[in-house]
Symmetry: C2
């Protein structure tokens, strides 16, 4: 990789570009696991559903990868993306809300294997408090602030009902959490230096019905 002066001002990189990097990394990891050594931007484009030009443009923010006409070295680009994204290290997370979704999150193996460690879990329901699930013991939500001030985390996962989500976000922010993954179907207020990603299947569905509505297909049944 040839160093690029642009890497000095990483904060200027558009969010949409940053958001595509994990997708490229996932596709490269797939190729790597298959033993593939080199990939063209066209092939990577097919896998990631992003145009080859967009891929080249996105990667150019971080330096010069690959050589014209020769494609990218899979292992090197993968390693570089992991470094850029900060994925070589462990990130500590706190889960708030251990209902249906929270439980699925605790039991899902896909976080820990990618370096995302759930260090704490909280709920208000006394019948689940004290239970061990995944790698943690569920604590009462009233301990949230005190616990996080003592044993801080990088990321908060909010899996409480919509009406309680703002209160939880406010506590996480007070505890210095700068990244929040929100499963509650609402958009919480937070300071501008706190990033929040919404996991919201209903919003995703509502974005698709626009296109469904404008198509005529045999699958529609009113």
């Amino acid at each position: 990789m040839t160093p690029n002066p642009k890497t000095a001002r990483v904060t200027k990189i558009p969010d949409v570009v940053v958001d595509r990097l994990p997708l490229y990394a996932r596709c490269l990891a797939l190729l790597h696991s298959r033993g593939q050594e080199v990939v063209s931007s066209t092939e990577l484009a097919k896998l990631s559903r992003v145009t080859p030009a967009q891929i080249r443009k996105d990667l150019s923010y971080f330096g010069r990868f690959g050589k014209q006409g020769r494609g990218y070295n899979v292992a090197k680009l993968l390693q570089e993306l992991w470094r850029i994204l900060g994925l070589e290290r462990q990130w500590r997370m706190a889960l708030v809300g251990v209902g249906r979704i929270g439980r699925a999150i605790l039991e899902y193996g896909g976080f820990a294997s990618q370096g995302f460690h759930i260090a704490h879990a909280f709920d208000v329901d006394h019948s689940v408090v004290g239970q061990e699930l995944g790698s943690v013991t569920i604590r009462h939500a009233s301990e949230l602030e005190q616990r996080l001030l003592k044993e801080p985390v990088d990321i908060g996962i909010v899996a409480v009902p919509a009406l309680e989500a703002q209160t939880v976000v406010d506590i996480l922010v007070r505890c210095g959490v700068k990244s929040i993954l929100n499963y509650a179907p609402m958009c919480p207020r937070r300071p501008s230096d706190v990033q929040l990603r919404q996991i919201d299947p209903v919003l995703a569905l509502q974005g698709m019905t626009f296109h469904l509505k404008n198509k005529k297909g045999p699958t529609k049944k009113h």
Copy 2:
């Protein structure tokens, strides 16, 4: 609303614009439930975390809403967005995979209340086949194709392990499904007229660590 010639070529509207409309609709629904009648683009921007200029530009694709300096009529704009997004009707969905995530999806009340009806659910596990969960009886996955050809759906939800997801997507596509919500952590191949939205918390986390890595905060613990 003043008709806009642009509405004639709805297919040209960028996906990113369409994807923001459900968010505006959700914010407007919140204001409507509070009895608010008029909203400025500045207020809507605060709620939705999109700039006022972006909101005005997004809405301009669909016509002229509101009057300069007077803001938008909440109820009218909400109704119009629902119409544009095709949310006044019921959409039929099939869920494939009733593991932890699939179970949470079946038991979640937020789909049906927004017009998304789970008409079928399938799994390969004989111990869950025959169970009634939410509003459906779980069927064996071997019946998937036959059932969907007889009783078609608009949307398929894929909640199977990554290795099985491509097979499921292929069957859904053969059954005429044009919209897929994918919870499997992989990016399935599909024809270009089939839309797919990925619900992928790990990708969302990986997009946030980029920013975390480039900040120094008291919450980091290596």
